[in-house]
Every structure is written in structure tokens, then in C-alpha cells.
Symmetry: D2
């Protein structure tokens, strides 16, 4: 049986971003039958502008759209900026939601996230969820993975080292795998 191919997207452009590390941890811990590729080109997606849509739109958008189209599911790791979704992540979703492709419609998506502060991306995840729902994505309802104090859950090599969070991440990925199966049978 073909493995599920997941596209991971981090909502921060910073190279050392904890949400990027979180995606890497997810890729390493993915359950049997799931592979996670991490998208690394968010910085090349231009600011959304209808006037740029033309025939195909900007190349970076065309490529990202194709990758979302080809994926069995999308896994979004989001930081929280100003108690909401990062602009860079919202901007990418704004492109992806556009007709005629609307590649997020019907797509299985899961959201998690880490913040260096104490409060763990609850407002960001709620905002990402609302926006994905508007784009008609089919978002995993639970379990949620909120990670605060992110600097304390990764070791110096950037590996997730907090046992309860590792266990929560494993359960989250298994639930996402089932969710993708369910959505595929729709």
C-alpha cells in the first residue's frame, strides 16, 4: 500500500524556528505508513495580490499549490504572532484558497504549534483553524498539541526531548493518519 505523503508547513520564516524543529520531530516520529516532507520555501511566496494571478500566478505559488494538491494531507506548525495567525502563513493560505484550483477544499489538514512564551499558540491555532475552515479544508478536530516554553522541550541538537510532548505528538500523528483515511473515504 502506498504510504501517506504529508506536506509539513511551518508558519515562521526563521531558520531555527521551533515550529520547524517541531515538523522535523513529526517527520522523525511519523507512524508507519506516513511520510512527512517539510516545505522550506515559504519565504519565496509573494504577498497576495489578485493582479498577480494572471495565467498561473507566481512560480512559487504554482509550486506550493502543486505540492498541496499532491499531498494526502497538510500538517501546519504555527507560532503565534500578536495573538493570531502569522501574516506569512495567512498569506500562503490566501493564495492556496483561490479559484479555480482551491487546493485546500476537501484537503485533510492538522494544526499544531509551539511558542517560546508560556501560552502555547492557542489563539494562533484557533485563527488558523477558522481560516482553513473558510477555505473548506477538513481540519482534524482533536487531539490538540499546544507547546509553550518551547526552548525547554528541545535538546541542544534541536531534537524533541520532552517525553509527555513526544507521546502527545505520537497520538496526534496517529489521529491525523486515521483522519486522512476517513476523509479519503468520504
Amino acid at each position: 500500500m502506498r504510504p501517506m505523503c504529508i506536506l509539513g508547513i511551518a508558519g515562521s520564516l526563521r531558520r531555527g524556528s521551533y515550529n520547524r524543529l517541531l515538523l522535523r520531530a513529526a517527520a522523525e516520529r511519523a507512524p508507519k505508513g506516513m511520510t512527512i516532507d517539510v516545505y522550506s520555501d515559504l519565504a519565496s511566496v509573494p504577498l497576495f495580490n489578485e493582479e498577480l494571478e494572471g495565467e498561473n500566478g507566481p512560480q512559487a505559488v504554482v509550486r506550493l499549490r502543486q505540492r498541496v494538491h499532491d499531498a494526502d494531507g497538510v500538517l501546519i506548525a504555527t507560532p503565534e504572532y500578536n495573538q493570531s495567525i502569522p501574516g506569512v502563513l495567512k498569506n500562503a493560505i490566501d493564495w492556496l484558497s483561490r479559484p479555480p484550483e482551491e487546493v485546500l477544499a476537501g484537503k485533510a489538514v492538522a494544526i499544531f504549534g509551539a511558542s517560546t512564551g508560556r501560552w502555547g499558540t492557542r489563539l494562533a491555532q484557533a485563527a488558523v483553524r477558522q481560516t482553513l475552515n473558510a477555505a473548506e479544508a477538513v481540519v482534524l478536530p482533536s487531539p490538540a498539541v499546544f507547546i509553550g516554553d518551547a526552548s525547554s522541550v528541545f535538546d541542544s541538537a534541536g531534537h524533541l526531548s520532552d517525553p509527555p510532548i513526544c507521546a502527545a505528538l505520537d497520538a496526534f500523528l496517529v489521529a491525523f493518519q486515521r483522519w486522512i483515511d476517513m476523509v479519503a473515504k468520504k
Copy 2:
């Protein structure tokens, strides 16, 4: 094959509420294989208070919890109060979300709504969705049914008489039926 039994809940206590009429229209237009029973006892659900939970909790809560438990899906028609979910509806969800039963967890739910004003319950529906998601319900992502100027879409006998909205409602109910099937196979 057993028909799907849906529990309809209107988020307003007013007898002539447009959201109650909307549920009645849904019940009349339900697709083959689906029946919709409208819950009419929201006024008897007390204000949430952990101290009342005791053995079983208030009788009205016990009965509502049982009806949600027994239903194949829950259909919520919500007005918008102060740009958000009505307190009376949130209060019922607060009871239903509580352990040990947590009857909303894993339950298929769909949200729609009507308002007399122009703006059609977008903020209310977003708030209901966020709260149901927290309770781990599995909420139909799309299509959405937003109805503004509700007084103009029902006739004097209280029947939904606006053809585009009738068609949107039909599509919504069919999508909900498929969603329930999908969630059942999870």
C-alpha cells in the same frame, strides 16, 4: 437500513425564533434516510455550575445529554448575539462537554443560522464552531448556510420560501448526511 436521527437545537428561546423555523424547514426538507427531531427544552437547562453536577446533574441536562448521545448527529441553528454565540446555547454546550460522558466528543455536528439583520450570523457560527471543536465534536466544514434578513425568507406561515436558500439548505443537509456517514466509519 435505519434512518439517521438528527437532533436539532435552536440557539434562541423565543418561540417564534427564525432559527426554530429554520430547523423546522430542515426537518421538512431532510433528505431520504434522515429524520430531524427538534429539541424544545433549552429553556429548562439551568445555568452551568459545577456544584450542580453531583451524581447525575440537573434532570434537564441528563435528558439533553441522553438525546445528544442517542443522535447520529446534531444540527445547530444559531442566531448571533453581540457578534458571538448566544449565552443560552454556549451554556448548553458547557454542560454537554463535561466529563465523564463528554457526549459531544466524536459527535458529528453541523451549524447554520439566520439573523433578522443583514449580516447573517457569520461571527456566531465561527464562535459555535470554535467551541464545538474544543468539545471535540466533528463539525461539518462546508458548505456554510448564512441567512440574513430572515424575515424576508419565510412566508407568513413560517415556511422557508426563498428558492436559493431552499436549494442551499438541501445541499447542506446532503453534505451533512455524507459527513455523518464518514464520521461513523472513522
Copy 3:
């Protein structure tokens, strides 16, 4: 000069609620020139129903409306239920927002809150803020006071005993005092 009279409202009906303790702490620590009276009758406010509005509406609503009207400001301590505003608190705001009095319109309000869990009422406070804004209250923008792990910040007698949170509360109350002054000059 007349002291500012603040009405404190806790969003939970539980007697031992941490948000009630938080209001008590605020009352004890109120800056010179401010007194805080804690409203203790939220349990008697019925579920909102337009049909009950009649001449004056339910007695508990009439009394609460009068107290809000008479107060120089309203201080709301909210727990988080299902990632949002508690139904009991939203229900009270739904009553208070109604014409013809609309006692919240133009009223200075501040929001804070405590939760026993880790995540500290960020989603609840955002929801309360959105709803108060819809009711045209004039809500203190900052600083925010989010309190997680509430059981660890009060001592066994129910007094706030965490020095950084005491300091944050003091700064919050001083900012609210200035905010009320500012709104009064509008």
C-alpha cells in the same frame, strides 16, 4: 473627590471559583481612589429570552443592569470554558446589551482571568472582549493578566500569594483607573 466604584463580575457560579478569589484580591489591592464591589448574584440571572423582556424584565436583570449603570467601570474575571467565554457570563452580557438601556455602551470595562489548567484564559478573554466590543463597551486594551495553574497562585486561605502576579494585578488596576478617567473625559 468621589472614589471610583467598580463592579466586579466573575464568570463562574462556583462558590470557590478562582475568578471570584481573583476579584477579591483585586478588591483588596485596589489603588487609592478605587473601590471594587463584587457582584454575587449571577446565578439568579435567567436564561436570556426576548419574551421575558416586557416592561422591565426579570428582577435579577433589572438589579444587575442598575448596578452596571451606577458603576464607574466593570471588572470581569473570566474562566475559560470550551476555549471561549462561559455561557453564564455571555448570557448576562446578552441581557445587559439590550435596548433601550444598553448599559454597557460607553462603559469602561477591564477583563482578566484565571484557569486551573495551564493555558490561562487567552481564548476566553478574546471572546469576552469581542462580545463587549459588540455591546459598545470601552474595554481596557492592555496590560493583560492571564493566570494559569491558578491553584498554585493562591494560598490555603484563598489569598493571592504569587508576587509577580500581585505586581501584574496592581499594574492592571492602575491602568484601569487611568482608563476610566480617560473614558469619563470623552
Copy 4:
């Protein structure tokens, strides 16, 4: 007395954007004592990335930050993308909120918006408000100006031609003027 200088920012990059027309209408109708300059360089603000912050950060950000700093108030006209704030607008706010300048903290801001669809930016405005509040801006609480079906309220020359909306806009601008005065006295 020096006139109030307002910086207007439209949340869309499209040249013919209705929100840009709305800002132009606001500039033309500004009350005595208020001038509104429309910022036209949002397209040059790069995607937010902490790694770019360095000494001063990107030139476009430095210039925008200076303009916000110098303005007596900021007027934001926002479309609604995917039931929330446009990514391009959120991205600019993410830059503006950053230390050490934090130019939005304490700044008077007002939000309005137009959409071509029926539903009139209620969800977008709520999201903009939440994010500005996180950045400690002091956002005008009311009145709100929601404009749906935007193509029907401007004439063929792009001038606002709907009398009730003109009146609502005038009242909104006068309220903003008073709000700025109030915030200045804080």
C-alpha cells in the same frame, strides 16, 4: 491648532481595491481638523522574518514604522480573506508590533472595511481588532462600518455614492476624531 494627521492603510494590494476607494472617500469626507494620508506602499513590505530585523530592518518597514509613529491615528480599511484578516495586512502589523519601537502600542486606531460579497468584513474586522489589541493599540470601539456589496456603493468614477453609507462614514470619522483626542489626554 495643528490638524490631526491620520495614516490610512488598505488591507489589499489591488490597485482598484474597494478598500482603497473607501480610504479615498474617508480622506475627502474627513471632518474639519483631520487630514487622512493614504499609505500606498504595502506591496513593498517584505514577509516578516526575525532574521531581517538586524539594525533597522528592511527600508520599507522603517518607513512605514516612521509614518505610523508620526501619525495621530491609523485608519485601517480591510477586506475579508478566508473569513479573517488578509495575510498582507497581518504581515504589516506583525512588523509594526515588534520591539523596540512597538509603534502601535498606545496608538489610536479605527477599523472599517468593504467587501464585494454580501457579508461585509465582520470576521475580518474582528480579527484585525484582536490583533491590534494584542499589539496594544487603542482601537475605536464603535460605531462599526461594515460595507457589503461594495460594487453597488461606489459610482463609476470610484466615489462613494450611497447616502446612508456616507452618513455612517461621517459619523465614524467624527467618533474617531473624538477617540484620538481622548487617547491623547490619557
